[in-house]
Every structure is written in structure tokens, then in C-alpha cells.
């Protein structure tokens, strides 16, 4: 046994021992999570994710410059690791080599080591340039990141120097190491003896190996843990974009904790999420709460939750759940939890598919249902929902008053939905809010023009419970959902159209869990379809510059970006312009996640910020497709004193006026 073998056994044994121990703790902590993880099906699509988003780096590449740098580093490391393995083998047993793969294959392997080392080095330089020359604000300072860049850079330099010495006096390697042999030529000119060259090789090989082994120890405790966790996290991500909140089974009497009071109340998949975070800050850069001075940053939330998990490691592994400290602490405050508009910009931007919103909802569920702690102004909203089936203080018996004089039938009038084209779900805003009542009237006009056979539930309709659910009052949500489903099923409703994206999302993606399975169509899609089929023709000219504001629950939650734009584009004379944030990166109006019913007391107002973006486009009309957006943007226009210059119109109103 040579000294090298002995030394390697000792150092590598220690390094892998420490690293392995650290990983085993992370694994134990993950397995000790008590929350229910989702079930994972559809493995074909998951393998697809492995190719698209892990190996293919698609989501990472959403940011061009740094995504490219990352892809170079990522691929480089995979290839370089093969060489490193050979090196380890050779150090253990001097005769070991990967030559058995055949000469040309081995040549390619050696060649690729040089090529990918260069690739990684360039990638590291690109990343460093971004981080130090012109860092985006959301990146933040990170000693982990500095360390990783220096480490990776040094690792590549050591590889080049090691290969350079290796190539000295060895023509085969000289040719294969097509880059480092050039460095070798430079070294050769210094006149090293063969022995000295060999020593040089050994020195840099050891530097390289020690760096690798040091890295192995560093990874589990750093943000670089993502190189292990992000792959599985991507494969295990929630596959379809459309997603409802997970339901609680209140019948199950073994469940005594609703929502998350402690970090351990989350599932192992949530822990994997935390392990996967790279602290890239993409989520934060798009978060409406963060960008208007609220204490919530989705990135900090994830990082702080990870800190909480680490701080409680001992208690978690020992199974002493009573010693685990609460989730709400000095970092993750109640204000952080209530600031979220559930706009989902964070999740759509996250390159490693972390689910931020579910964690926020779980924290809210605990605050709301277990501790009865929530913004005081929400209490009357809940009471109204409980007694009148609407968040507003109006009588349930007045729900259908908006339709008086509009020739709209109720299902009670006609007995069943079987002969109808669709049932029109009006929603609370359409029923009670003056501005949105007129939107509904316009939509009804369009439906009449297109000769659609439809009816409403009238006073039998109740709030879908969207806001209650997002605020964490799952119990109230389920109460409302079950009543609505009973009504809809009693009338044999199959197809529902609605002008409210919140109702749309809830009816379509969330009522399924409670026995309500319907084809649900948002009016933007329905209008586009009616126009495409020629049932309505927006032939009257509307000479306006229009900008469309994406509703989060239409766009990011359900992937509908084109239908409203197609509809607007079909109107003669309309000049459609985009705001600087649009579609996937669109800025929320500030009303989602139940924020519609809470005061906005911290920072700037989100709706005003969004309105400013609309004003920047020079548009004379802001088109909306959501009653809450309508309210928020209209408010913003008033605040900016632009009522004379800019109108806020629902797409249904625009279609009604031009058909």
C-alpha cells in the first residue's frame, strides 16, 4: 500500500464519513415530518421532468445569462465527476483506469475532461460577473455563494494544472488534453525534470481531491444542498399547473392539528422543498408583497423555514415534538404569513419547483382554525359568509336582484340544467358589487346576442368560499362548498360559465374533492369561443389603446393567458399593448389570497403599483377579467387621479359594446 492510498483512505474516509452523517441527519429530519405528503402518480411524466427540467435545465434557463452559466456548470460537473471517480480509483489502486472502455472512448473521456473544465470555468466567471459586477437586488449577499464560486473556480484551475503536468512527456495524453497541454507547454518551457513534473501532477491531483472532499463536507449544510435535492424535487413536483388547495378531512377524528403550527407539521416533501432552495431570489424578484415593502419575501420564507428545521433537528430526530419551537418566530412572523396574495408568481418563477403557497396556507390554517388569530377586519367577512353566503354584508335574498329586468331565468324556474348550454355562476361580486353587477349585465347581454341557453342559481347560489379557504378557514370553505355542490348536483349541472377567476378556480379545481365535478369555463375563454364560432361579431369599432391585466387565478393558476387577448384582439380598432410585467410575470392586483378583505397597512399599495404599470403603457383602457382586479385597478386609477384618462373595463363590457 502506497502512502497515497493510505492518505486517501484516511482523508476520504473522514470526509465521506462526516458528509454521510450530515446527510443521514437531513434524511432523518425529512422522514420525521408528520404532515401528509401528496401521492405521486404519472411516472412517465415525471421521467419527462428529469429530461426537461433536470438534464434539460429548462426552468433554470428562464433567466438567460445565469441560466446558461448554470447549465454549463451543471453539465460540466456531471462529466468531470467521471474523471474524478477514475482519479479516486487510481489513488486507491495505482493500476486502476477507465481504459477498459476502449481506446477511442477513453480518448473522448479524457478530451471531454478538458473541454468541460473550460465550460465550468467560463460558467463560473459568468456567474461571478453577474454576482459581483451587476448583481440584481433579489440575489442578496451570500457567503455560501461566494464560497461556492471560489471553490468551483479553484477546482477547475487545479484540474487544468493537474492535467497539464500529466500531459508533460506523454504524447497520448498531450493530444487528448487539448487545452491543458497548452498550459503544459508553458510549464515545460520552465524546464521541469520528469520527476518534478510527476510531483507537480501529484500535488495538483491532491489539491483537486482535497477540494472535492471538502466540498462533500460543505454541501449538506449549505445552499449547495440543492445539487442533491433539486433533482428529486423537480421529478416530484406537482405536475399539472392547475391545482387546488389540498383538502382537510374533518371526518377523520385522529387528526387534531389543522394546518402547520410547527415545522414538523409539514410533509417530507415540504422538507425536500426547503433542501432544494438555491437562494436564487427569482421568487422574491416577482413577489408583489416584497416589491411593495411588505415583510414577506418567498425566498426568505423558505430560507427561514429551513433554519427553523435545522435549529430543531435534535428534537425532531429524537421524536420530541413538544420541544420543537413554533413555526411563527422572529423571522416568519404573522405579518409575513398574512401578506401573501397567493398570486403564485414565486412558484412559477422557481427553477426547482418549490411550492411556497401551500406552506403559507398551512400556516394560515393553523393561525385561523387552531388559534383564531387573523386580521380583525376579516371576522365580519366570515360572519357574512356564514349567515348570508357572501363576504359582503348583504341579504342572501337580494342575491339575484342585479338580474331584475335582464331576462335571466333561475334554475328554480326551469327545474333542471339538462336542456341548457351552461349555467352562469354569478359570484358574490357580480351579485352585490355595483361596478361588477354591470359587468354581469354586459355578459348576459352578450349571451343573449349569441342565443345561449343559460340560467343562474339566483338566491340558491352562495359564495364559493374561495376567500375563506385562502385565509385559512377551511371549515367554512367546506361548509359553503358542500351546500353549493348539493344545489348544483340537484339541478344536474354539467357545464358552468363564470366571469370570476376565483369562482372559476374553486369550482373547477377544488370542488372535485367534495363530489362536484363540472366543466367550468371562464368567460374569457367562452367569449373567445363565441367569437371564433361566429356567434357574436365585435364589428363596431373601438378606437382605443387597451392593456390587459392578467388575473392570477386565470393566468398563473390555470394557464389562461391567450383567450382574453384573443378576445380583445378580435375587436376592431383595438390596439393591444402589454405592461412591462405580463402573463407569467404579471403583477397581482393585490386582492388574491383573501387580501381583498384585509387592510393593506404595510408598505405601498400593490394595486397602485400595478396601475402605474398600466399608465406607463399609455393605454386609454385597462381590460380586466376578474371582479377583484376590477375593483383594485379602478381604485388605483382613482388614487393616481387618472379617471379621465383611463377607463377600467371588463372584457365582457368591451365585447358587449362592440357587438
Amino acid at each position: 500500500m502506497t502512502w497515497e492510498t493510505l492518505a486517501f483512505l484516511l482523508v476520504a474516509g473522514t470526509a465521506f464519513g462526516i458528509s454521510g452523517y450530515k446527510f443521514s441527519l437531513l434524511y432523518k429530519v425529512m422522514r420525521a415530518q408528520t404532515g401528509k405528503a401528496p401521492t405521486f402518480k404519472d411516472w412517465g411524466a415525471r421521467i419527462g421532468q428529469l429530461f426537461i427540467n433536470v438534464l434539460g435545465q429548462k426552468a433554470v434557463l428562464q433567466s438567460r445569462w445565469v441560466g446558461t452559466a448554470h447549465t454549463m456548470i451543471f453539465w460540466g460537473f456531471i462529466v468531470i465527476t467521471i474523471g474524478t471517480l477514475e482519479q479516486f480509483a487510481m489513488t486507491l489502486y495505482s493500476g486502476a483506469s477507465f481504459e477498459f472502455i476502449g481506446e477511442s472512448a477513453y480518448y473522448a473521456l479524457i478530451w471531454s475532461q478538458d473541454f468541460f473544465t473550460l465550460l465550468v470555468l467560463v460558467g463560473v466567471l459568468m456567474a461571478a460577473a453577474r454576482r459581483y459586477l451587476n448583481p440584481p437586488k433579489y440575489l442578496g449577499q451570500s457567503s455560501d455563494a461566494n464560497f461556492v464560486l471560489i471553490f468551483t473556480g479553484s477546482l477547475m484551475v487545479s484540474i487544468f494544472l493537474m492535467n497539464a503536468f500529466h500531459s508533460l512527456g506523454n504524447p497520448w495524453f498531450k493530444e487528448a488534453f487539448f487545452i491543458s497541454s497548452g498550459i503544459g507547454n508553458g510549464i515545460a518551457s520552465l524546464g521541469f525534470t520528469e520527476e518534478q513534473s510527476h510531483t507537480g501532477f501529484t500535488v495538483f491531483k491532491w489539491i483537486h481531491m482535497l477540494l472535492v472532499l471538502g466540498f462533500a463536507v460543505f454541501i449538506p449544510g449549505s445552499k449547495h444542498l440543492h445539487i442533491i435535492a433539486a433533482g428529486p424535487n423537480t421529478v416530484l413536483k406537482h405536475l399539472p399547473l392547475e391545482r387546488g388547495m389540498k383538502s382537510i378531512n374533518f371526518e377523520d377524528e385522529t387528526v387534531t392539528q389543522y394546518g402547520a403550527a410547527k415545522i414538523t407539521d409539514f410533509s417530507w416533501k415540504d422538507a425536500l422543498d426547503l433542501y432544494s432552495c438555491t437562494e436564487c431570489g427569482r421568487c422574491e424578484s416577482l413577489c408583489p408583497a416584497w416589491n411593495t415593502g411588505k415583510p414577506l419575501s418567498p425566498k426568505s420564507l423558505i430560507v427561514d423555514m429551513k433554519k427553523n428545521l435545522h435549529a430543531n433537528k435534535a428534537a425532531i430526530i429524537a421524536g420530541k415534538s413538544e420541544e420543537v419551537t413554533p413555526l411563527i418566530d422572529a423571522n416568519v412572523t404573522e405579518d409575513v404569513i398574512w401578506a401573501c396574495t397567493s398570486c403564485r408568481a414565486c412558484e412559477v418563477a422557481c427553477p426547482v419547483f418549490i411550492g411556497h403557497t401551500d406552506k403559507i396556507y398551512d400556516a394560515r390554517r393553523n393561525l385561523m382554525m387552531m388559534e383564531s388569530k387573523f386580521p380583525a377586519e376579516v371576522q365580519p367577512v366570515f360572519k357574512n359568509m356564514e349567515t348570508n353566503g357572501t363576504p359582503w354584508a348583504f341579504s342572501a335574498s337580494d342575491r339575484a336582484n342585479w338580474a331584475q329586468g335582464s331576462d335571466v331565468k333561475t334554475l328554480a324556474d326551469i327545474g333542471s340544467a339538462t336542456e341548457l348550454d351552461a349555467v352562469l355562476w354569478v359570484g358574490c361580486a357580480g351579485s352585490y358589487d355595483d361596478r361588477n353587477k354591470s359587468v354581469l349585465k354586459s355578459f348576459v347581454n352578450v349571451l343573449h346576442k349569441a342565443q345561449i341557453k343559460f340560467a343562474i342559481l339566483g338566491t340558491e347560489e352562495q359564495c364559493t368560499g374561495d376567500a375563506a379557504r385562502r385565509i385559512g378557514n377551511e371549515y367554512l370553505f367546506q361548509t359553503l362548498a358542500k351546500m353549493n355542490i348539493e344545489t348544483l348536483n340537484r339541478y344536474q349541472v354539467k357545464r358552468i360559465i363564470t366571469a370570476c377567476p376565483h369562482c372559476f378556480n374553486t369550482l373547477k379545481n377544488e370542488y372535485k374533492d367534495f363530489g362536484g365535478d363540472y366543466e367550468v369555463i371562464h368567460h374569457s375563454t367562452y367569449l373567445a369561443k363565441l367569437i371564433a364560432e361566429g356567434r357574436i361579431k365585435p364589428a363596431k369599432e373601438m378606437k382605443e389603446t387597451v392593456t390587459f391585466h392578467d388575473s392570477c387565478y386565470l393566468g398563473r393558476w390555470n394557464g389562461i393567458y391567450d383567450a382574453p387577448r384573443t378576445t380583445l384582439g378580435a375587436v376592431k380598432g383595438v390596439n393591444l399593448v402589454e405592461m412591462k410585467q405580463n402573463k407569467e410575470t404579471g403583477l397581482c392586483c393585490g386582492a388574491g389570497g383573501g387580501r381583498m378583505w384585509m387592510e393593506e397597512t404595510i408598505g405601498d399599495r400593490i394595486n397602485v403599483k400595478r396601475t402605474e404599470q398600466a399608465i406607463e403603457t399609455g393605454a386609454s383602457v385597462v381590460a380586466t377579467s376578474c371582479p377583484f382586479c376590477m375593483t383594485m385597478i379602478s381604485d388605483g386609477v382613482k388614487t393616481k387621479d387618472k379617471v379621465d384618462a383611463m377607463r377600467v373595463m371588463d372584457i365582457a363590457e368591451i365585447v358587449d359594446q362592440t357587438t
Binding site: M369, E371, S372, F382, K383, T387, S395, Y475
Partner: protein
């Protein structure tokens, strides 16, 4: 400490009230019932005292038809320990309700404090707390928006005319009628809602407490709904014309001058 709270179930504030067939009462069909909002202050205050004084119990009582059990469950969900349903016909007046409640209270263990809302928002009579205090021979204080507890006494801050306040000291046991401002009532937690569903509600029959139909002193003969609100009128023209039109309106249409 033994704390009692008397609550009333009333139609929700947004309910569109309809009269029954012979106009002797309201039509209960389709009404959403809630705990009268002032009574929520009463429940909350009792719960807060209980939380500060270990070993205390809060018992809620409500007199009315079977539907009031829902209101009792709401109070249980907020955190009350026991509930008593005192049977009472829909038509009962304040006197009869007070006598029934006083009868039921006498059957309970002696209480230090008996809470009410200052009035129920349906008939707005604001009589029951005082009547009960009278029946029980206890001191009472109405329109209470602040309470301080001493040993054997309680000091109540009450609102009086003109937005002023006065402080009243009462020896215990005492009757307190709660007003807005006393506290912010809580929203029940889910575990408490679940527990409340299973709790027993004690039933008290009128015969058990010596109350009969003869105790109903007021009989409603002919209720009328207020005339529907008319749209506001805008008086136009110059100052002189406006004044003239206004006087004309007040004299001939509103008939007030």
C-alpha cells in the same frame, strides 16, 4: 367563579323581514339566525374572566323555541362550558323571557356575575337584563363598555347621554348588560367548534320554573313594516328657488311644518 351569560337568538341584520299571515309577528321562514351582537360582548367578557381565574365556569342560557340551541352551540364553540335551553314560545315578551331566565338562573349554582347584551337587535327592547336583576334582587348595570374587577365588587364604565361615561361600583353578585367597546368577541377555533357539537344542552321546561302563558304581558295585534325607503330628491335651481321648493316640500309632502 361561576359566570352566567344570557343570550338571544335574533335574525341576521341583513335579513329582509316579512310578517306572518295575521301580522302578529314575523315570518320565520328563510331567516338566518345569529347570536345578537351585544350578547357576543357578554359571552366574550365572561370567557375572558374565566381565562384569568382558573377553575371558573361559563354557562350560557337562552330562552326561546328549539332553534335557539344553535345560538347556544355558537357560544359553546366560543368557549362556554355549559348551555341551558329555556323553553319559551316565539310570541313571548320581555317580561315572560326575563321571568323564565330568572327561574332558570335560580336552578343553577349561585353565580358571581350574570351577563347580558344591553339589548337584542330584533325588538331592541333593552328590558330583560334589568327585569332579571329585579326578579333576582341583584344590583345591575346597563350599557357597560368597561369592567374592572375588585374583591367582592365590580366597577362598570357605562355610556351615558352626550357621549360621556360614568363609573358605577356594584357589589357581587351583579347583573351586567354589555355594550360595544367592552371587548372584541373572538372567532371560535375549530377544535372548540367540534367539541361544541358534542356538548349536551340542558333543557328547562316552563312548568319547571313556574312560568306560564299568563306571564306574557304584551300581545302583538297588528305589526306593520316601515314604508319602503324612497329615493332621495335633489332640489335644483338658485338659492331662492331651492329654499322655496324645500319649504313647499316640508309643508305639503312631508307635512312636518
Amino acid at each position: 367563579m361561576n359566570l352566567l351569560v344570557c343570550i338571544k337568538q335574533v335574525p341576521d341584520t341583513e335579513t329582509k323581514i316579512k310578517l306572518n299571515g295575521d301580522s302578529t309577528g314575523i315570518d320565520p321562514a328563510g331567516i338566518k339566525w345569529i347570536v345578537s351582537p351585544y350578547d357576543e360582548f357578554a359571552i366574550e367578557e365572561a370567557l375572558r374572566i374565566k381565562e384569568k381565574n382558573a377553575g371558573s365556569t361559563v354557562t350560557v342560557l337562552s330562552a326561546g323555541p328549539d332553534r335557539v340551541v344553535d345560538a347556544l352551540r355558537t357560544a359553546l364553540a366560543m368557549g362556554a362550558d355549559n348551555a341551558v335551553h329555556v323553553e319559551l314560545p316565539e310570541s313571548a315578551d320581555s317580561f315572560m323571557a326575563a321571568k323564565a331566565l330568572a327561574g332558570a338562573i335560580k336552578k343553577e349554582a349561585p353565580a358571581e356575575l350574570i351577563f347580558f347584551g344591553k339589548e337584542a337587535i330584533d325588538d331592541g327592547a333593552a328590558q330583560v337584563p334589568q327585569l332579571v336583576a329585579g326578579f333576582l334582587g341583584l344590583p345591575g348595570c346597563t350599557v357597560v363598555c368597561g369592567l374592572e374587577y375588585g374583591s367582592g365588587t365590580v366597577t362598570a364604565k357605562r355610556e351615558i347621554e352626550g357621549g360621556s361615561f360614568e363609573k358605577v361600583e356594584l357589589p357581587l353578585p351583579a347583573v351586567i348588560a354589555a355594550h360595544k367597546g367592552l371587548n372584541e368577541p373572538r372567532y371560535a377555533t375549530l377544535p372548540n367548534i367540534m367539541k361544541a357539537k358534542k356538548k349536551e344542552v340542558k333543557a328547562v321546561k316552563l312548568a319547571d320554573i313556574g312560568v306560564s302563558q299568563a306571564d306574557q304581558k304584551i300581545k302583538l295585534k297588528n305589526l306593520q313594516l316601515p314604508p319602503p325607503k324612497q329615493a332621495g330628491k335633489k332640489i335644483e335651481g338658485d338659492a331662492a328657488t331651492q329654499a322655496k321648493t324645500l319649504v313647499d316640500f316640508l309643508r305639503n309632502e312631508a307635512k312636518v311644518i
